[in-house]
Point group: C3
Chain length 121, copies 3
Amino acid sequence: MNIQRKLVEKRYSKLSIYNGVAYFAATPDRPFDVSATIIPQARQILARVEERLAEAGSTKSDLLFVMVILSDRNYLSTFNEIWDEWVSDIIPPSRACVIAELTNPDMKVEFIIHARVGLAH
Amino acid sequence: MNIQRKLVEKRYSKLSIYNGVAYFAATPDRPFDVSATIIPQARQILARVEERLAEAGSTKSDLLFVMVILSDRNYLSTFNEIWDEWVSDIIPPSRACVIAELTNPDMKVEFIIHARVGLAH
Amino acid sequence: MNIQRKLVEKRYSKLSIYNGVAYFAATPDRPFDVSATIIPQARQILARVEERLAEAGSTKSDLLFVMVILSDRNYLSTFNEIWDEWVSDIIPPSRACVIAELTNPDMKVEFIIHARVGLAH
């Protein structure tokens, strides 16, 4: 069974697909919004996830597990409000959330994702 | 192939099963024990893992990978003693352990888990 | 379908294989190099990854996702240079990188990996 790579760059492929599972990370848009709240970055990362899923023929209903990494615990409640709205029309995936420093000091949130490859793929 | 979701809440499903693999996070019991040692929370999280595995028809022998996240490096040696006892009657899974802030300041340990779905499922 | 465990120790199996996927963590060599740069540890961990992959009949082309955990953001640019060279002869896997404290204060980098099991396995 082959591995499919999409959005291949020198350092990483933004999406790897194998045996019905899509593996990818997601970040907000660069340059990162530096306003005081996490609202813009949270909306951007969720839109990015939908974009990546579409590359695999999938939608947010196909998410298996989302590891959410926030750079500051103070972002948690606002992030959760935006997340909750985003998953309000699906059966939500499994999820864990931890607080950690991210590679760019202006990045407030990053995801590591496993998703089912869509039937349309 | 369908995704099975179990223990579905508004924010996340506590267990997602797809293609023979169960994806889930585990935490100790709420309200989190705030005593000085990690002993109660370590015992609770391991019991929780067994509960979640049972939902997938699995046992601890079916664990594939456990990412252990401790909120303080000082918990490591005690955590490892309790872990070692817990895996003493199985061939242990693969594992990594990192130190990071968790979403609740009283939570001392969290797991991210991939496990084989049990034959009984 | 069976789980195959390799390099089994009391605390964990260094490699677990199931349904065509190899799950493992990787670290640099012990005792950890404590020089000021991440160069030795970065080279060691990449060599370790190739060793583990070989146990699964795989090569670096089979990597699906690599979660890179660095203990200090200052290591990032040097780490990336070494990584970029390492993946220069393959289509690179998907990847995320976060900064977090590792279990040993002298360990500067750790990986959590999912890889395709090689055809030769």
